[in-house]
Symmetry: C2
Subunit: 402 residues, 2 copies
């Protein structure tokens, strides 16, 4: 191994991970549990939605022409000929000239009527209803198929579903929906200095913070993290764990180990079992990243510093997961903000700077990437593309929110 990495641009690293991404697998889930899942089928409505002209108010179904000129002082007088019941089509009810019928919100508009008048603008006088407001044609009505037409494509494959989408799926006749399976992502912690959270670190030791952070992020992103504990830098043990993880998972993340020796062993073990495709990315923080495959399973060697590991997760691992989920658009929440101060950057590498965001102002936090506290004190990241020498105070930036 050379002591200097031969780095490649971020875009090339992303292309590399997209090439090795396993194809999406599908499964069926109930719509109640579909939010956050990625559609693996196009959705078309099996009916018009709604299936009939529908009142959006409680009031009276009328012929709008009968209400022309009606107002507080001169109400229109209409004869009430019936009452619409919810969920029933009384097809015998027809509204003729000078007639109306009581209609509840959501009620089916009777034949002859073309509008509804809110009950607040009416008054009952025996069989006669005083209408104190003119209704225009179609007023307070949702037209049959106004929401969605039968056969219309409502959602396309690759959409990450929202809670509201679950409602639309129900309306379209989908009680269950086909979505991408959650990728199983193995996490192997490596590094002689690491101890788990429940052990008090001895001299020179640190607790493994990256593996829980990765697991928690993956779970939130719609993956199934699987932990393989901490492997010390002993080659045989390391190889055995990788072999097991590759067999059991769709992707394997090796969570360093911050030292060069550790990275070198990671690369060497991947190379001996499969192929190292990338060793070093023009990305700061995150340069010493390894991308490889063992069999057909993508294997990543992530940097040991927490902030570096997190940036690589966002910038490099996420595009792989998006491909595996068949997600058509990246799930990146950004807010636009104004930069509070200059950020210098080195041309030729993509740089991510943690920022606080408040009241539309983004303030960079320049802490070392080995620190955890800047990750939790910040609200997101600003990306500085490789071609830039920095960003100027006062410029508008898109903050990628955590």
């Amino acid at each position: 191994m050379s002591r200097f990495l031969s780095v490649i641009p971020v875009a090339d690293a992303v292309k590399a991970v997209e090439r090795i991404a396993p194809a999406p697998q599908a499964e069926t889930v109930p719509i109640d549990a579909s939010a956050g899942r990625v559609l693996a089928e196009d959705i078309r409505s099996d009916t018009d939605i709604p299936g009939f002209d529908r009142s959006v108010v409680d009031g009276y179904a009328v012929r709008s022409a009968d209400t022309t000129g009606a107002g507080d002082s001169i109400p229109a007088l209409l004869r009430c000929v019936g009452r619409i019941a919810m969920g029933n089509l009384d097809s015998s009810l027809v509204i003729g000239n000078g007639e109306c019928a009581y209609i509840p919100t959501g009620g089916i508009l009777p034949q002859g009527a073309d509008a509804a008048v809110m009950v607040e603008y009416t008054e009952v006088a025996g069989d006669t209803i005083l209408i104190r407001k003119a209704a225009s044609h179609g007023e307070n009505i949702i037209r049959k198929d106004e929401d969605f037409r039968s056969g219309e494509r409502v959602f396309s494959t690759g959409r990450r579903l929202t809670p509201q989408d679950a409602g639309v799926l129900a309306a379209c006749g989908c009680a269950d929906v086909t979505v991408a399976k959650k990728p199983v992502v193995g996490i192997i912690s490596t590094g002689n200095e690491l101890v788990p959270a429940n052990v008090v670190p001895g001299p020179g030791q640190v607790r493994d913070a990256n593996a829980p952070m990765l697991a928690a992020w993956l779970l939130e992103y719609g993956c199934l993290p699987r932990r393989y504990g901490i492997v010390k830098d002993e080659r045989e043990a390391f190889e055995a764990v990788i072999t097991r993880a590759v067999a059991e998972c769709d992707v394997v993340l090796l969570s360093g180990g911050s030292s060069k020796d550790d990275r070198d062993m990671t690369a060497s073990v991947i190379a001996s079992q499969g192929e190292v495709l990338v060793h070093g990315i023009a990305l700061a923080p995150g340069k010493p990243t390894i991308i490889g495959t063992v069999g057909s399973t993508p294997v990543f060697g992530l940097p040991g510093h927490p902030a570096s590991a997190f940036v690589v997760l966002i910038a490099i691992v996420r595009p792989l997961l998006d491909r595996m989920l068949g997600q058509s658009e990246p799930l990146v929440r950004t807010v636009r903000a104004t930069l509070s101060e200059n950020i210098p950057s080195q041309r030729g590498r993509e740089e991510y700077v943690r920022v606080k965001v408040k009241d539309g102002i983004a303030t960079p936090l320049f802490g070392k990437s080995g620190l955890l506290n800047t990750l939790v004190r910040s609200q997101g990241l600003i990306r500085i593309p490789a071609g830039f020498e920095g960003l100027e105070k006062g410029s508008t930036v898109d903050v990628i929110l955590w």
Copy 2:
């Protein structure tokens, strides 16, 4: 029941729900599954983090004074007296004047040294190391306790945890963490016109879209939704389901039923089993909302229109859940945007308008609240406070993202 509701302001409705919110319950979860959960304890670090002065580079531990003036043309020449191994404290190693030791990233800084020089700026010549760059005191070192001090409060009760927080929890010695239990939220659909997603609607019928939407949203928000199916407007059946739901759940949502008859029966059944506290909120959409209690269980009658139900969920139900979760700050993601056109509004009621957001421009979607499609075509809501008569084109607005 009066046909006109006596509406109360949104702020009063929120106060009412906060008064009836059951106290948070706690449970313990592994940190890998803690993202999105709300802390039910303060977290203090049980150690300094890191526990020792630590190099953030692969290179050489030096006394910075020995490198003063070092550069490409005139390197400092230091004698290499050792090599730091990861995870071990070799306390016998002391760096004297003119000496250095190889140190890996994350390695413990040996006694006598006060800085580290990156390996890229060094050259090996037998036992002598050529240092081609001056190091300042503390350079490339994370100080013992620089991240967090032992005993320092790292997180406070009420914080909604992020994936990065899971890493910090591990570093602080928490393999498990005490969080608020997920509230169990019952969902009862009411309305004679409703059929479930897997039934083709007959004349005058519509599929129940609200219940799956509510369930999906609640699941994403960190609750456990429990569905009770669709209850027709038959009083006895309705009462039996409410009794069961109130016994099994922490909160019960009655998902209308858009008609006034349906709302009236909901209010009447709540009143007969418990108490109706609010019937009507100065909120658009969302006015015909019912808030009550049966025993100590909060029971909501939500409006039947999907957009109305969703706004009430965000504006009224969410504060209740936040209180039940002990969440110190509302989980509201907003983006700032410029309004593309005027939005008229009625003074005296709080109004929520669905908007599309693109490139910092918020465009209102004025569709009827009975439509589903505006909910899925929009990215969020703009809130217009009760005291405003509208918002002007070009003004800056905070969009509450879905």
